[in-house]
């Protein structure tokens, strides 16, 4: 059933030309250089330290590496991260 729902959504996205992040429950990430990062559609903070932010997604995890990371603002589905961002990594649930 779940697979069917997902395929239907994917098809709808293709036909109606909707942005992927609206159709699929994946994060939308906006970065301003390596200084700022704006993440939408997250599901909660798993781990946060100066060098790493681990966010829970619908279908996996998002890892952000960097230095002097600060969460400037946080809302239930949005995070504004600042600092020197070094890398982003997706971990998908098997």
């Amino acid at each position: 059933m779940r697979r069917w729902g997902r395929r239907l959504r994917q098809m709808a996205g293709g036909v109606l030309d909707l942005p992927q992040d609206v159709v699929l429950e994946v994060p939308r990430i906006t970065m301003i250089g390596h200084l700022q990062m704006y993440i939408e559609n997250h599901r909660g903070v798993l781990q946060f330290s100066e060098n790493e932010l681990r966010l829970l997604l619908t279908n996996g995890q998002l890892l952000v590496f960097g230095e002097q990371l600060v969460i400037r603002a946080i809302l239930p589905e949005e995070v504004l991260l600042e600092g020197r961002i070094g890398g982003v990594k997706f971990l998908e649930n098997p």
Partner: protein, 406 residues
């Protein structure tokens, strides 16, 4: 996402949260709709974040659940600022006193200005204004309405046609418009009125002095018309003669008018040329290829920016060339004679003065020769012939301003 001003007004605190399960605490707080920002990790089990003070008590159950401890580090915003201000009451009192003092000082009149006086002295106006309370150091709320002040000041200053009272902050401006007095006639010395031309007297109206001529009498140039010496042999007085004497003067005017003449007519074709002026040079910019007119009239206009006597070296020049064509016109002898008469009349009136009237005109003879009409006209003109001539060798009569007895 954040509203810095709102946070400042509501007040916020920077807290450190100590605990192993900080992330869980954060997620719960965010899901509960709390506003948390500037989150950073300070130590392995210590985090720091900012939170609005109104939401601070709501953290309590969350802290209990996650086993974290919170400690307030810094306080920011308006509520804390007020608390600090209460501690430093002197500063607040000073600020209020300052504003009060400024307000009080601005409610006094600090200067009185007078504008528009020409013959009256400003001191006179200031003295009058002082009587109705407008002076330096007067308290503005005690002054009456400017319109009432205006009327009162007007009563005190009869020489002024109009007085305006304007209160501009701490300055009072008194604007005075003075009455225009009639100009005094210039004082004239003893004099005769004499004829300036050979003429026949038409009318004579002496105002001061004794008339020496009668109507219809022929007078020569320089003859005394109204004498400034009045009285008989025993009692004599010298006055400044005044009056009007009109005489009939004869003129003969010879005029010639050509029968054929050319004049130029505008065709309506125009060409605008624009030039850029650089120093003494003019560079033509528009049009690129100019149209040549066989004959034209040109009108030039220069635009050179100027400021305080300094002229800009760069300017703009516009030339308008209007094409003209010559046209020939032939006059008949009658038309030419009429025109000659018109010219002659204008010529005679110019010679005779502005209030002259042509009484009679006679064409003496008219001939046509070499394509021109020659006309000779005789005019009889009534004009003012009196002219002043001072009586020399007599001392100034005492205080005789041109009036006197006639």
């Amino acid at each position: 996402m954040r509203n810095g001003l709102q946070e400042w007004v509501k007040g916020y605190v920077t807290v450190t949260v100590r605990g192993k399960r900080f992330e869980r605490f954060l997620n719960m707080a965010v899901r509960a709709g709390m506003r948390i920002w500037n989150i950073r990790r300070v130590g392995t089990e210590v985090c720091r974040c900012d939170i609005v003070i109104a939401e601070f008590p709501r953290l309590r159950p969350l802290l209990k659940e996650t086993g974290c401890r919170v400690h307030v580090v810094e306080r920011h915003g308006f509520p804390f600022w007020l608390v600090r201000l209460r501690r430093r009451a002197g500063l607040a009192v000073g600020a209020v006193l300052f504003l009060f003092g400024l307000y009080m000082l601005s409610s006094f009149v600090w200067s009185v200005e007078v504008t528009g006086t020409r013959n009256m002295s400003p001191q006179e106006v200031i003295a009058a204004a002082e009587q109705i309370g407008i002076k330096e150091g007067a308290w503005k709320p005690k002054l009456k309405e400017p319109l009432v002040l205006r009327k009162e000041l007007q009563k005190l200053l009869p020489e002024a046609e109009w007085v305006g009272v304007t209160i501009q902050g701490t300055r009072v401006i008194l604007q005075v418009v003075e009455k225009d007095k009639p100009a005094k006639p210039p004082v004239t010395g003893p004099r005769n009125l004499v004829a300036k031309k050979r003429a026949v007297i038409h009318t004579i109206l002496p105002e001061a002095g004794q008339s020496r001529v009668a109507v219809n009498q022929l007078v020569e140039k320089g003859q005394v018309l109204i004498s400034g010496i009045i009285g008989n042999e025993q009692r004599q007085q010298i006055v400044s003669a005044k009056g009007s004497v009109k005489g009939e003067v004869w003129y003969v005017s010879n005029v010639s008018v050509p029968l054929a003449n050319t004049h130029f007519r505008l065709t309506g074709e125009k060409q605008y040329q624009h030039h850029l002026l650089i120093g003494p040079y003019a560079v033509q910019i528009w049009p690129l290829n100019r149209q040549e007119f066989a004959q034209y009239e040109s009108e030039e206009k220069r635009y050179v920016p100027e400021y305080a006597g300094y002229k800009s070296p760069i300017g703009w020049k516009r030339v308008i060339q209007s094409e003209v064509v010559p046209t020939k016109r032939e006059l008949t002898v009658e038309e030419a004679t009429e025109q000659a008469k018109r010219f002659a009349r204008a010529d005679v009136l110019r010679l005779a003065g502005k209030d002259a009237v042509i009484r009679e005109e006679k064409v003496l003879h008219a001939t046509t020769e070499n394509g021109k009409v020659y006309v000779s006209i005789h005019f009889s003109v009534i004009e003012e012939i009196a002219v002043e001539e001072p009586i020399l060798g007599v001392s100034q009569p005492p205080a005789n301003g041109g009036g006197g007895n006639s």
